[in-house]
């Protein structure tokens, strides 16, 4: 008899842990920053880099719509979170290289 077994529930029931929340926020903030940078690059291509030399450009750009102000705030939040979490990753994942270098050479047997 051919019965398809169900898959036990995973995302809907698993309690959000501190570790998994950090990790997924790092990924989401990274993806968000990447899209922001991409669209900003497209914008720069379109308007030409000469605009950045004019003062009035910044006034009109940031205050043209309220959406831009909010997205700048959110981008700043995403950038700072991604930066701090990235530093935490570097420190924890690569601590072995900085502190226990001699032991690495001893454990790798040839």
């Amino acid at each position: 008899m051919n019965i398809l077994r169900p898959l036990s529930p995973h995302l809907p029931i698993y309690k959000p842990q501190l570790t998994s929340t950090f990790s997924i926020s790092h990924r989401i903030s990274g993806a968000f920053l990447a899209t922001i940078v991409f669209f900003f690059y497209l914008l720069c291509l379109k308007i030409g880099l000469i605009c950045f030399t004019y003062e009035n450009f910044y006034q009109s750009f940031f205050y043209s719509s309220k959406l831009i102000l909010i997205s700048v705030e959110i981008t700043a939040l995403a950038l700072s979170y991604h930066l701090y979490n990235g530093v935490r990753h570097l420190l924890t994942d690569f601590s072995g290289f900085f502190f226990r270098k001699k032991k690495i050479e001893m454990t790798v047997q040839n």
Binding site: P9, L11, I13, S23
Partner: protein, 274 residues
Amino acid sequence: MATGLIRRAISRVQVTSQAARLLVGRSHASDAKAQPVESKPNLKSFQIYRWNPDNPGKPELQEYKIDLKECGPMVLDALIKIKNEIDPSLTFRRSCREGICGSCAMNIDGCNGLACLTKISSDSESTITPLPHMFVIKDLVVDMTNFYNQYKSIEPWLKRKTPAPTPGKEIPQSKSDRAKLDGMYECILCACCSTSCPSYWWNPESYLGPAALLHANRWIMDSRDEYTQERLDAINDEFKLYRCHTILNCSRACPKGLNPGKHIQNIKRLELSS
């Protein structure tokens, strides 16, 4: 005289009988003017995942109410009580009831753990589901074949190229070398860590998972094993090892307090320098 002896023997037997003990107990209680005990049952409802392969439909959460005053402290005690008194068809794995066999691994209130080591929380409701993202055989029993095959694939036995230094005797290992295995040999293969890893959820067949990688590190770090480089090369794969993104849910879930994330980082470090 014989009848006297027999009478005394009978009276001694009677005193040790349960009824006689109750009589003695009651006499003491009446001395202290004991109040009649009003046992208000402390009810807790358990929402337990149910699915029957003989009558397959949609899996559902079934509610059971248990009086916590009549039940042991651990979730496994509640499950056994439900099975004994309310619903004998509730199916789950269990064996040692002391947290050493790893059979009763399941998801309790959103976190993976062993039912025999997880205390029943004092909330009014608890949800018990099987280990996440595994195929369900029945109720709380999941198919562990893939998990065991991944463990087998890392070849968890001692491999040597040269014979033992003293033939017929054990291979000597210093205390410091043996201490390197602490934190890895205690793994009971309960699968709580692997099934808590989102990376393992999305790639169960290609990613080895924290449990298998912890054991891979256990054999890599064993000073008696001479196939270290081959072991490192075998898992130096984009999927087998590098699906690990240091989410570290595994170390949070381990019911024995082990740290698979740390050992996976050790393997990655060794890969880089080999």
